[in-house]
């Protein structure tokens, strides 16, 4: 087992732990907003760690870059969607407050 393998095991292992934490949050937290909080934070840290862990394994640097790009895009997309979901999930009375405040 080389050093690279060790790095991979370490990073993907850590990534998995974050994923499990995020999933536990998704299942255990009481409402949409706190679930969202758990998912976006933990999962994307986890994904990043796994991407790094895999990137050291691939042959070409281009492929490694692609892996990191995937992570970057996933983070951007998740940030946007979680914003949207958070707004959709606002209970109607809060939403109306917000709208009134906005106008």
């Amino acid at each position: 087992m080389s050093v690279l393998d060790l790095i991979t095991i370490l990073f993907t292992g850590a990534g998995t732990v974050f994923f499990i934490a995020g999933t536990a949050g998704l299942l255990r937290f009481p409402d949409t907003h706190s679930r969202l909080h758990a998912l976006t934070k933990a999962d994307h840290l986890g994904l990043g760690l796994i991407a790094v862990g895999l990137a050291v394994q691939v042959a070409s640097p281009l492929l490694a870059l692609k892996l990191l790009l995937v992570w970057g895009l996933a983070v951007l997309a998740a940030a946007t969607t979680s914003q949207l979901i958070a707004r959709v999930a606002l209970p109607p009375h809060l939403e109306r407050q917000k709208e009134n405040a906005g106008q």
């Binding site: 946007t80 914003q83 959709v88």
Partner: protein, 316 residues
């Protein structure tokens, strides 16, 4: 043994999430489970070496369908449509048994299939060189079975006509009923300005790559639709008026171009025939047209029927 173990785990997960999506206690949670289900499904497609389908499933099956359902549940909640109570315990048990036996019957059919049947893969490989593209799935979609795809692109139009026809009489010709969620200057508005550029590149790349690698008009078009929707939701662009002539041209451009190329072939003897020497370029042309139309149609399907008159202070 390892791959099979992984498949077994994946199938179990897919089934568990499907059960959660179907029987979740509250509607919104059940829709979220459905989206997760779609993403797991995409993973299953990767395992079946069907990356094109995986992309489609992730973009359309999970993403767009999920978006439609989330949007619908939000609108329903605003209408205060009450949540439901299901039928009696006995009726539900009877339904479950019936569904179980149907699934069993279908499962039996799966096990009865000859595990050595080759399908059409060898034949596709033989003709791939003449198809003008290197990705066999694209070759099937846009050459060998292009006729299916032509009809499919009009199915989208039918759905949109149906959706539009559900507007109020007085809102006809107006803007789609999309709500904008962004506060001016908020996080979402910033994303709405920065992400489209990236999305545009990804969408066009997916179409371009489709001739050789997984990708194509429907996957790319979905990404472009998502970009447009994001801009609309973030308040950067507004949903257009349904009476906009340019918009309507965009809707039919792809299918019409497709049909024109097909009819040109018919006049020469063979409907939808693409001469092998030009097939590559023709397919790219059709895909470009379809991408525009698919993107516009999908985006407008999500936007929904025209609902409001000119919004105040919004540049058209």
């Amino acid at each position: 043994m390892m791959p099979l173990a992984f498949d077994l785990f994946l199938c179990g997960l897919v089934l568990a999430v499907a059960v959660a999506a179907v029987s979740g206690r509250e509607l919104f949670g059940s829709i979220v489970f459905f989206i997760v289900y779609g993403l797991l499904m995409a993973l299953a497609w990767v395992r079946l070496e069907a990356v094109d389908v995986a992309l489609t499933e992730a973009a359309i099956g999970a993403g767009l369908t999920g978006l439609l359902l989330v949007g619908a549940s939000a609108r329903l909640r605003r209408l205060q449509a009450p949540e439901e109570e299901t039928g009696s315990r006995k009726a539900r048990a009877a339904t479950a048994i019936a569904c179980l036996s149907i699934a069993g019957l279908i499962g039996a059919a799966v096990l009865l299939l000859d595990p050595r049947a080759p399908g059409l893969a060898p034949m596709v490989d033989c003709s791939l060189a003449e198809s003008g593209v290197g990705n066999p799935v694209t070759a099937v979609l846009l050459n060998f079975r292009a006729y299916d795809t032509l009809l499919e692109s009009t199915v989208l139009l039918v759905a949109l006509l149906g959706v539009w026809s559900l507007s109020d009489e007085r809102s006809w010709g107006g803007h789609g009923g999309l709500r904008q969620y962004a506060r001016p200057g908020g996080v979402l508005a910033t994303f709405g300005r920065t992400l489209p550029a990236i999305g545009l590149i990804i969408g066009v790349y997916l179409v371009w790559a489709g001739s050789k690698q997984p990708g194509g008009a429907f996957q790319g078009g979905t990404v472009l639709a998502a970009v447009w929707l994001l801009m609309a939701v973030a308040g950067v662009a507004d949903a257009p008026r349904v009476s906009n002539r340019l918009l309507r041209l965009g809707l039919v451009a792809g299918p019409a171009l497709f049909l024109a190329i097909g009819m040109a072939g018919a006049m020469a003897g063979d409907f939808l025939r693409l001469p092998p020497e030009h097939a590559g370029n023709l397919i790219l042309l059709i895909e470009a047209g379809l991408t525009v139309s698919v993107a516009v149609t999908l985006a407008l399907l999500v936007v929904g029927p025209p609902q409001r008159d000119l919004p105040h202070g919004e540049p058209s």
